[in-house]
Subunit: 415 residues, 2 copies
């Protein structure tokens, strides 16, 4: 039993036309008109696959394939919203991979014991409405319906109003689940699998993330008449912080550290910057190690202040705890790949996904397909057709393993 | 013979009200309506001091006090335009110091042998119309009248049109000079005199300046799923360049090096920056040493590329050669201060001034008054009344020394 790869690729191609960018990527922000057009296409596909569609109060779309038992469902999910000038696969691959699993089971007339559900989560990216993973977080009880409805974009438009505008405001009773097990298929968005020469990743959890803001307060002076020993250059201090964050992360196995955002004031060519603001993103699978990274960052700030005379404030303003996935579901993914003879590597997701919130309410895991050059959130995002096919087959086998096949012992597929 | 300090301070106070900012500074951009109001006040003061006013084709205002000889003039000049939220003294002090010299000579009935001219240069700051020192450069032959007239501000307004609008478009025949000697009184805008505990600086020249743009080209990746060894983080490379520029400048006596401007792309918290653009400003009194600084910068770029895998381009796009002032005029300033018993320090100006272009056509020098905290181009810019008075007295004595006093041997004032 295998998915129909040509059909999967053709669906990916068609969906990528909605919000297509000149550079070969996609801009399909949550609850935009492009999102509506894409949802309409997905709805048509769900109907053609005879999947019963329901839409909940956050706009999450659930397509259900009945099982022989009326039990909790095995849910396969991801999202079809994108970042600005994002790629064709981030999110879309997981939703259309799940659709392809449903279609394949239809083709073969297979009935699972547990029902299967496909979910398209609203606003995973968090680019238009912060925070990211808003709707899965709401379903998991992290965010109240009012909080979700009141999120606004940069133009001041409310989530609730935009959801109604595009015609996807549904009913609270139509939320996904109850969930027996949760599977999310996704491109890796990093270079680990490519570096290892492995097509598919078995994801053991989502790393902890902590965000800090660093403010370096020095003294703005004219670049000419200020001798070096008399300066308090906030950008020089910031530079030593940036290099230091890189050093700290490299020194601890499995850690990553990134300064992604920087703003200097007044930011003109002939003035010594008086103030620089930086973001610091630190990640690790282990919460205690994440705290150790933060301690190293604060130690670094004191060292740089001593060296430069620039005051450095470190404000840790957000932390997402590490989320280890369910051993049972991770094992099902591993067994599926093994049964298919597909080489895998165990890894942790460095990025957040809806699976993070779902793990809080149901046993969950993720499947990664190798990304070319590790690129994501850009138009150059790419995975080979072969790797996408391999990942979707692992999803199929893992879903069957978790849902069971009517009239057949699931061990049969172990080969 | 001494200037009238109270009158000088009162004139500074009145001029600072035009374009006054809530924070105690001044915004009086070149050829703005505030500039017109300030020019109108200066014109009234010139008339009250019986100085013959002429306005040239660039809007430069020259107030002339006749000498007993109809020779070339000793010119005292600066500017009354400011940067946005600039200080009360940058420029204004030099113009009103010159005015106070004229008024003092009027009070005492002194006739100089050479004529004296006061000049208010148009658009010294270059904030509204680039480049800086536009009108003095044009008088020195660096820029053509058409080039000057066609400079546009960010709103697309032309220099020529704005000059006509404020009513200060004059005649080519009314340019300053001919110039026998040129003196520019200015606040230091740096911390050297304060650090040394000296009120007045005798300026020996204007340092050479070279501006480069550095582009670090790495690879934008998601901050989570990108292990440290596989990254090409453009901001980490940029940080090592910034720290390196600081190290390079500190290693060479008299050099300064500044990264004032930085822009990272995409500049979001959870993406590794793929591209970072930096400005580098290097200054030194000696042209060969400036080239040595540039060579060190290029060597640094190669080292950082080797370390980080990030391509670093260095584009030296502008150089202003060092300008040593006239020994004769510098000596006159020194002798004036000595005669007054005012402590001085020799130094080079780290910033450009109209005196740079004037030195190309006439013997020139500058006088600096100590700046509190070395601050300039900001609302906190400040010099004490005592230091401003001392600088203006040095201007008076230096001008008399260079112009000569009718019926008296100038050596008389040497004390």
């Amino acid at each position: 039993m295998r998915i129909n790869a040509d059909r999967l690729h053709e669906s990916l191609r068609q969906l990528a036309q909605i919000g297509a960018t000149p550079g070969g990527g996609v801009t399909r922000l949550a609850l935009s008109s492009e999102d509506r057009t894409a949802r309409d296409l997905l709805r048509r596909w769900l109907e053609e696959a005879s999947l019963h569609l329901r839409v909940d109060d956050f706009g999450n779309m659930t397509g259900r394939r009945a099982g022989s038992e009326s039990s909790a469902a095995v849910v396969m999910a991801s999202h079809i919203d994108t970042v600005r000038c994002g790629g064709r696969y981030d999110g879309a691959y997981g939703v259309l991979g799940a659709l392809e699993v449903m279609r394949t089971l239809n083709d073969l007339g297979v009935t699972t014991r547990k029902p299967l559900e496909l979910v398209n989560w609203t606003n995973e990216e968090g680019v238009r409405f912060e925070p990211a993973m808003l709707a899965s977080g709401a379903v998991a009880g992290r965010f109240s319906p009012d909080y979700v409805a009141d999120r606004t974009d940069r133009a001041g438009l409310r989530f609730g109003d935009e959801l109604a505008r595009i015609g996807y405001k549904g009913d609270r009773a139509h939320r996904p689940g109850p969930v027996a097990a949760y599977l999310e298929l996704h491109i890796e968005q990093g270079p680990v699998l490519e570096d290892a020469g492995i097509p598919v990743g078995v994801v053991e959890g989502i790393v902890g993330i902590t965000w800090s803001e660093i403010v370096a307060d020095g003294r703005a002076d004219h670049a000419g008449p200020s001798p070096m020993p008399l300066r308090r250059d906030a950008l020089v201090a910031a530079a030593r912080m940036i290099a230091g964050v890189d050093d700290i992360a490299r020194a601890i196995e499995g850690a990553v550290g990134t300064v992604g955002r920087i703003a200097a004031e007044p930011n003109v060519i002939n003035t010594i910057p008086g103030k620089v603001t930086l973001s610091v993103d630190l990640r690790h699978p282990d919460a205690a190690t994440l705290d150790r990274l933060m301690a190293a960052l604060e130690h670094l700030a004191r060292d740089v202040t001593a060296l430069t005379g620039v005051t450095i404030g470190v404000n840790r303003f957000w932390t997402s705890e590490p989320t280890p996935f369910s051993t049972e579901v991770v094992d099902a993914v591993q067994a599926a790949a093994d049964a298919l003879g597909i080489a895998t590597q165990r890894l942790w997701s460095g990025a957040g996904h809806d699976a993070k919130y779902m793990q809080e309410v149901a046993p969950s895991a993720m499947i990664f397909a190798r990304s070319v050059n590790g690129l994501s959130h850009c138009e150059q995002e790419y995975s080979t057709p072969e790797d996408l096919e391999a990942g979707a087959n692992v999803l199929l086998y893992a879903a069957l393993r978790l849902a069971g096949i009517e009239g057949e012992r699931i061990s049969h597929t172990r080969g």
